[in-house]
């Protein structure tokens, strides 16, 4: 007999969390790379059928038009860097635009056209759907980036042959003309290691412009050494390698034992404490008159040369920059003993690179023992990387002042070309001053194994690097230490992390170009991950707009977000109560989280280096790709998981 169902009492609300967690575990447990690839293959073929490959030809036309419509100051030296840079910009814009479009289009289109029904009613988890979409984007973006890059490379080759021919003509002209202006000779004075002795013009005429310099990575980072005087103040920046040292001799051992010795620090803060360069530049509230706690955190280290005893701890400087520290430091864990040797006292900022700006002078550290006060000259050591573009040293009136040093590992003979290697020293000069005629910078290269030494002195000039050629015998067998000295009393020079380099050869530029394309591809993948995650919760119009905004934020505003995280508005108000401190912590956490949501595009910014690396050796390309790859891979994975969670909670039919 047919039944007529009677009304039932309403069921309890559906539990959400437990079924969700069970489904999550189930999806991970049954994850199938084969299904992921099947979904990805379909999405790839869908994207390619949208005629995105037409973009490749369009991009090539744009590269050619941009090249033809750009005027160069010097066709031989400027054409290839600017062409490469233009091509890089065009490929970046095309790839990122495509990444935004495809990533935010695919999933919403499946939802609106309801083809998603065919997927979610098969044994395909939402993780495999979102992951498959992402994988398809990775493949499509790879195809687009490298196709356009390969076509552009072909165009580079054509242009490079034209330039080589032009350079040959100019080189012959220069050979015939002994009255060539000095300026022109200097502009062309870069020498490449396989061709030491010839000029860059000759090199281009012989080998073409598409050559990239290869550098040996130093085993020790560049250490800049500076000695402030008793009147001038040097600023510590808060990097771990940036510290001030004072060495004290002949201190009374008995007073140490009796606990009568105090170390007194008197450190200066900037008039208005610089909290963040970007914020200050933009005129946003980022500076304050009173140093915050993070700017006053310091680490103090003690080292007795004779007993090799060490001690270190962190302290908070007073708002006036003073710290009175009893040594040996009290406390059961203090094992420092002074036995009468030279006592080294080291001070460095502990509040982080952006927080610390500590002004130190010779007399910033004194030791008081009873009625006696001891003082000592101060030395600063700054180990790259530093947060300034250049660090200015020298000019202290001394004629043999060590400015910087670095060290390179032992080279095998196959590592450098037949002409050997060369040390390149590129120092900056203050732009507003005339260079004195007697200004000199000395370079000493030591093979630490054989003990061979090579000494060179050069007159620093703007736009020209000094090269010290090293033959094969000198280079072989041991690590090379390079020291840079100031040989003139009044000249101050600027040093950057890449100021001292060891050139070991040059290779076809193609490798650098491929690396640059890889960086563009990785950047596009990171943006695509944002698009995919957003497309699981929003329609394609909203998702693409939001992705574009986040791309902009990641490129331009990420430093600001990090600054606000560190020095937010609440910090500058200096509210003392516990509530405001908690609020401040929550605020920092929030901005820290915002920072995590965005890819660090600075890690992928590669183009300038590549363009510069054509003929003028400036590339520092070796270590970047692996780090960038990991950054993008982890970031994309995190966003795919986030998108999966959104998508799992979402109903696909209404």
């Amino acid at each position: 007999m047919p039944t007529r169902p009677s009304p039932q009492p309403p069921a309890p609300p559906r539990p959400v969390l437990l079924p969700f967690l069970r489904g999550l575990a189930d999806d991970l447990l049954h994850f199938s790379p084969a299904r992921l690839w099947t979904v990805a293959r379909l999405a790839t073929s869908e994207a390619l059928r949208l005629r995105v490959l037409g973009l490749v030809l369009l991009g090539l036309v744009a590269v050619i038009l941009a090249d033809l419509s750009t005027r160069r100051f010097d066709p031989v030296f400027d054409t290839m860097p600017s062409l490469i840079h233009l091509a890089e910009i065009i490929i970046t814009v095309a790839t990122l635009a495509l990444a935004i479009f495809l990533s935010t289009y695919s999933l919403p289109r499946e939802l609106t056209s309801k083809t998603i029904f065919g997927l979610v009613t098969k044994p395909v988890s939402r993780l495999e759907i979102v992951g498959g979409k992402m994988l398809a984007l990775v493949v499509v973006l790879f195809i687009i980036t490298f196709s356009l890059g390969a076509l552009s490379w072909g165009y580079f080759e054509i242009r490079a042959r034209q330039i080589q021919s032009l350079a040959g003509r100019e080189w012959k002209l220069q050979q015939d003309n002994e009255n060539l202006p000095d300026l022109l000779r200097r502009e062309q004075s870069y020498r490449l290691p396989t061709d030491i002795g010839g000029s860059a013009l000759q090199h281009i005429a012989d080998f073409g412009p598409l050559q990239a310099a290869v550098y040996q990575t130093p085993s020790d980072p560049l250490t800049v050494v500076s000695f402030p005087s008793s009147t001038s103040t040097e600023w510590l920046t808060g990097y771990p390698g940036h510290r001030a040292n004072w060495g004290f001799d002949d201190l009374p051992v008995d007073d140490f034992a009796a606990g009568k010795v105090h170390v007194l620090f008197q450190v200066a803060f900037p008039e208005r404490v610089r909290q963040d360069e970007t914020l200050r530049f933009l005129g946003l509230p980022g500076v304050t008159d009173t140093p915050p706690e993070s700017a006053r955190q310091v680490e103090v280290r003690l080292h007795d040369e004779l007993s090799n005893s060490n001690w270190s701890d962190t302290f908070l400087l007073g708002p006036d920059g003073k710290l009175d520290l009893a040594i040996p430091p009290p406390g059961p864990n203090s094992r420092f003993t002074y036995s009468g040797g030279r006592l080294w006292i080291t001070l460095c900022g502990a509040g982080g690179p952006a927080a610390t700006r500590l002004g130190v002078r010779d007399d910033s550290c004194t030791i008081r023992s009873g009625d006696h006060t001891f003082s000592s000259p101060c030395g600063l050591r700054l180990v790259a990387p530093f947060n300034l573009n250049k660090y200015w040293v020298g000019g202290g009136g001394e004629t043999s002042l060590l400015l910087a040093r670095t060290r390179f590992p032992a080279l095998s003979s196959g590592r450098f070309g037949p002409a050997g290697a060369a040390v390149q020293v590129d120092v900056a000069l203050p732009s507003a001053t005339n260079i004195p005629p007697d200004a000199r910078v000395g370079i000493t290269v030591v093979n630490e194994s054989s003990g061979q030494t090579k000494i060179a002195t050069f007159r620093p000039e703007r736009g020209a690097a000094a090269l010290v050629p090293l033959d094969r015998d000198f280079c072989s067998g041991g690590p090379l230490a390079v020291y840079v000295y100031s040989r003139s009393p009044a000249v101050e020079v600027g040093l950057a992390p890449e100021s001292i380099r060891l050139l070991v050869g040059d290779q076809p530029f193609f490798a650098n170009w491929a690396k640059d394309l890889a960086m563009i591809w990785l950047a596009a993948c990171a943006i695509a991950a944002i698009g995919v995650a957003l497309s699981t919760v929003a329609g394609w119009q909203v998702a693409s707009l939001m992705t574009a905004v986040l791309l902009l934020v990641a490129n331009v505003w990420l430093p600001i977000i990090h600054s606000v995280e560190r020095y937010g508005v609440l910090q500058s108000l200096h509210l003392g109560s516990a509530t405001s401190r908690q609020l401040s912590e929550a605020y920092k956490t929030l901005f820290g989280f915002l920072g995590l949501l965005l890819p660090d595009m600075a890690k992928l910014d590669y183009g300038n280096l590549v363009a510069s690396g054509v003929a003028a050796p400036l590339s520092a390309l070796t270590a970047l790709p692996a780090g960038a790859l990991w950054h993008v891979a982890l970031y994309s994975l995190a966003l795919v998981l986030l998108g999966y969670i959104f998508f799992r909670l979402r109903e696909v039919a209404r």
Binding site: P2, P5, P10, D26, A34, L42, G118, T121, S125
Partner: protein, 286 residues
């Protein structure tokens, strides 16, 4: 011990909400339904009665607001249950840039079919739904509605499912195609599969279903076997051949005299579908 039902809902409620979470439409209001293994079950009801919502809840395309849904003994949002089910949506939502064959290959790969097994399965299904060799190589955007339904049905059967959900399976098909699909559904039952179908076409449901449920405004109003539900118990029907007009008149008088009311004696009518099929069959035989 009773076998696990193919599908089971318990006090199932589905409320559609707007962007802000405010309730807008009460699509289902406490649906209790059990679909037994091996039967063909029909869901009937006017537009907006909750048929498609019920089907989407069973498939996990929607989340229930209250109540529970189980398919083949598993929760509806369990992806693994999909290994044993096939679904034909009310319209064939397929990728228009793929050919018929590529479509089946794609869905087959999602079930882990590879190589010869996939080739054989694709070929068998294309034969089953009567898509000719030329049609197989054409992209779906060139397909007619009937062809799309056929390829849609083929994809629903790619995994040889135990439980098939068909939403308006005969929409867009000509009567011959409709008959073929109905025969196919009946043959599925013979193979031991469970079929749940929803349709506006009552004749289709009547022809193939063992049991039906009628939904109105999200509530079940009738549930039972087709035979029982369609049986009109207070009316008798007599059928005979070679009856003379006199006998007809006498029978009518006898019935009226013995107290029967609303007496009507007339020739039976075939359904339009039966007429159409007969004409087509004659045309083919000629």
């Amino acid at each position: 011990m009773e076998p696990t039902p193919a599908a089971e809902t318990n006090r199932l409620v589905k409320v559609y909400t707007d962007f802000w979470g405010r309730p807008r439409v009460h699509a289902l209001t406490g649906l209790d339904l059990v679909i037994h293994t091996g039967e063909i079950f029909g869901l009937l009801g006017p537009n907006g009665s909750g048929k498609t919502t019920t089907m989407k809840l069973l498939l996990g395309l929607l989340h229930p607001t209250r109540g529970t849904v189980k398919v083949l003994g598993r929760p509806a949002d369990d992806v693994q249950k999909n290994r044993e089910i096939g679904y034909l949506p009310e319209e064939s939502y397929l990728y228009p840039f793929l050919t018929g064959e590529e479509t089946l290959r794609f869905y087959g790969r999602l079930f882990g079919l590879r190589g010869r097994e996939l080739d054989r399965r694709v070929s068998d299904l294309l034969d089953l739904v009567r898509l000719d060799v030329r049609a197989r190589k054409r992209t779906l955007k060139e397909y007619s509605k009937g062809m799309s339904r056929r390829i849609g049905l083929a994809q629903a059967l790619i995994n040889d499912p135990k439980f098939v959900l068909l939403d308006e399976p005969t929409t867009g098909l000509d009567p011959v195609g409709t008959r073929e699909i109905k025969d196919l559904i009946i043959s599925m039952k013979a193979q031991g599969r469970t079929v749940l179908m929803s349709s506006h076409l009552l004749a289709d449901v009547e022809d193939v279903c063992d049991r039906i449920a009628i939904l109105v405004r999200g509530q079940m109003r009738e549930l039972g076997s087709v035979k029982e539900l369609l049986l009109v118990r207070d009316i008798m029907q007599l059928r005979a051949r070679n009856v003379s007009p006199e006998l007809t008149a006498a029978a009518g008088k006898l019935l009226a005299d013995s107290g029967a009311t609303d007496v009507e004696i007339s020739h039976p009518r075939m359904t339009l579908e039966e007429l159409f099929l007969r004409v087509i069959a004659e045309d083919r035989s000629n």
